[in-house]
């Protein structure tokens, strides 16, 4: 029962981390290696607004999500747009931006154990003999709502359909009058907001530390690779696979193995079936 409950919670938090990465890659084909940095920066912005400026929690969250979105858009507009389509340059430049943000935060004095965000709701409830605090339940609810919302957004709104069209075939989308650079920019903004949502829902459970930026990056890559790069639903299901695998390995092997499982999942998926469980890429394009 403990495995079931905590496996679900862990899976949803992984899905939250991975969704933003999957969205950006799915639409603009840019592997956003600054994802972890966007996640952490949102946490710090929220903390600053909340503690230093004394804004109410909800306002701080909304503002920091907005800032994160703008940051993502700027990152695309100023840097990534110039290297789009060149795989190596995309990876190197987005990773370099992420590195600069994370290490800059570390230099700026954000280190140590003192940075925490308040939880949404205090208290806990017992589910099937396992104590679970309310915040984790809220997190699961937010995660599921977010996935459902994304599904509705991409299937029933004009903007969402345009984004999906671009994800499927960029040239055809261009012919139908969809501005691909603008859409890719929006996707980057959405990806950054999703990273922010993940940060705000997950970070109250622990401290805000710069190192977790790298952790989040690896986790979101793991989720996206296993699910198939560019497939959001795939990422969601893969999050459950990896989430449960992690909890099982922690219970039966030891906490060191949590990361081993994720990285092993990436390597094995890429070797055995590079397009992932739900990937739409043609097999031939990925491997010879």
């Amino acid at each position: 029962m403990e495995i079931l409950v905590y496996g679900t919670i862990n899976s949803v938090s992984l899905a939250l981390m991975g969704l933003g990465f999957a969205m950006v890659y799915g639409i603009s084909r840019v592997p956003n290696f600054a994802h972890g940095a966007l996640y952490i920066i949102c946490g710090f912005v929220t903390w600053t607004l909340l503690q230093k400026l004394g804004l109410p929690y909800v306002l701080a969250i909304v503002l920091s999500l907005g800032i994160n979105g703008i940051l993502g858009i700027l990152m695309y507009r100023l840097v990534l747009i110039r290297v789009r389509g060149m795989n190596i340059s995309e990876i190197i430049s987005s990773y370099a931006i992420g590195l600069a943000i994370l290490e800059g935060l570390r230099y700026g004095g954000f280190r140590g154990m003192t940075y925490t965000l308040p939880v949404f709701m205090e208290g806990m409830v017992v589910i099937g003999g396992v104590p679970v605090d309310y915040h984790r339940i809220v997190m699961v609810v937010i995660g599921i709502l977010l996935v459902a919302g994304l599904w509705l957004f991409t299937h029933f709104t004009k903007l969402g359909l345009a984004l999906q069209g671009m994800a499927q075939d960029e040239r055809a989308a261009l012919m139908l009058g969809i501005d691909s650079d603008f859409m890719a920019m929006l996707a980057m903004g959405f990806g950054a907001v999703l990273a922010g949502v993940a940060a705000i829902t997950i970070l109250p459970l622990g401290n805000i530390v710069v190192e977790s930026g790298y952790h989040v990056l690896i986790m979101s890559i793991a989720v996206c690779i296993v699910g198939g790069l560019g497939s959001w639903m795939g990422a969601f299901f893969a999050a459950f696979i990896i989430g449960y695998a992690q909890i099982l390995s922690v219970v039966f092997l030891g906490s060191h193995f949590q990361m081993v499982v994720a990285i092993l999942a990436i390597i094995l998926t890429l070797i055995l079936k590079p397009s992932g469980l739900f990937g739409q890429q043609k097999e031939l394009e990925d491997r010879v």
Binding site: P31, I91, I221, I266, I271
Partner: protein, 337 residues
């Protein structure tokens, strides 16, 4: 004369054209023109340890050479074979650990462990990367980026080879002089060896694999064999660098799998000039000392070189070496349209 009706044209220098062919042998001037850049590189690298004040900066030169070896192996794999390997740290770590194990547990001297680490480490890395060889582009890049992290976690989780403490008590080189000239010499051999290799028939096949692997396959050439061979060459170089690093610091541990060793060589390659094989060396000669100078600023130096990297990718994506080559071989002038 406004800017609209002018353009810049670049024309090869006469001496460059004359020294392209066999005519280069006709006069000392043409020969000097050909030899000068190579001579500057060799003499410069050999003189560097002597010019450096103090042991600290001599040590920095050794570290520069080690990064440069990883960087040229990245450059070779990425721009001559088409495999973008982001896992330089994997090679460094494997080489470092193998050298450490043979030295600390079996008591072999550094001059035995280093070649041994290069060969055994190269074979080990090639074996592990063999299943990923069919992958291309971003997939190969991500999987190689994960390998060093994976190795580090495995060593941590199973507490292998001293676990988080690493292997202690490894012999150093006999003297600082041997240490520096050993790494400088090896680096020069690698640079000129690789430049020669990519012009041979084998190099032609490597380039063909990068351009169109299906065509190579259709010619009856086993591409997996050639890709594995290229990975072996590159990883042996990386492992040798790792083994030298272990003997310089007299220690090998998990931090040899750190992302630093994957990112800095790539940054150096981008800055120095991708696809030139000499550019990475120049990039390392700039980046490593700069990051040593900025050591007082702590993590701000990482911010600095990440920013520099992005700036170079955006505005000077061909790198310093291509720029210098253009200046050396061509004249530029404004002409009326």
């Amino acid at each position: 004369m406004s800017k609209e009706n002018r353009r810049k044209e670049r024309i090869d220098r006469g001496i460059k054209v004359r020294s392209d062919g066999l005519y280069a042998l006709m006069s000392w001037r043409e020969m000097a023109y050909l030899i000068a850049p190579r001579f500057i590189l060799i003499a410069g690298l050999l003189a560097l340890p002597l010019l450096m004040p103090g042991l600290y900066w001599q040590r920095v030169i050794s570290i520069v050479c080690i990064y440069a070896m990883v960087a040229i192996s990245f450059d070779f794999l990425a721009h001559y074979v088409g495999l973008v390997c982001l896992g330089g740290a994997f090679f460094i770590g494997v080489g470092g650990y193998i050298a450490g194990i043979f030295n600390a547990y079996f008591g072999m001297p550094p001059l035995v462990t280093i070649p041994l680490a290069a060969i055994a480490g190269g074979a080990f890395c090639t074996l592990l990367l063999l299943p990923c060889l069919p992958l291309r582009g971003v997939y190969f890049a991500i999987v190689t980026l994960m390998y060093p992290l994976f190795m580090a976690r495995i060593i941590e989780a199973f507490d292998l080879f001293g676990g988080t403490d690493g292997i202690l008590g490894i012999d150093s080189f006999p003297s600082a002089f041997t240490e520096q000239y050993f790494v400088v010499g090896i680096l020069l051999v690698f640079v000129f060896g690789l430049r020669r290799l990519v012009t041979t028939d084998m190099g032609l096949i490597f380039t063909a694999v990068m351009d169109n692997d299906q065509a190579v396959r259709a010619s009856g050439i086993n591409i997996t064999y050639y890709k594995a061979l290229a990975v072996f060459i590159a990883s042996a170089m990386g492992c040798l660098a790792g083994a030298c690093l272990t003997h310089i610091y007299m220690w090998s541990g998990i931090s040899q799998f750190a992302l630093d060793f994957s990112i800095l060589p790539i940054a150096a390659t981008v800055i120095g000039g991708a696809g030139t094989l000499v550019g990475p060396v120049i990039g390392c000669l700039i980046l490593v000392p700069v990051s040593e100078l900025l050591r007082d600023f702590g993590t701000l130096r990482i911010v600095f070189y990440a920013t520099l990297l992005v700036a170079f990718i955006l505005f000077r994506s061909d790198g310093i070496m291509a720029f210098a080559k253009r200046k050396y071989e061509q004249i530029e002038r404004w002409t009326l349209i």
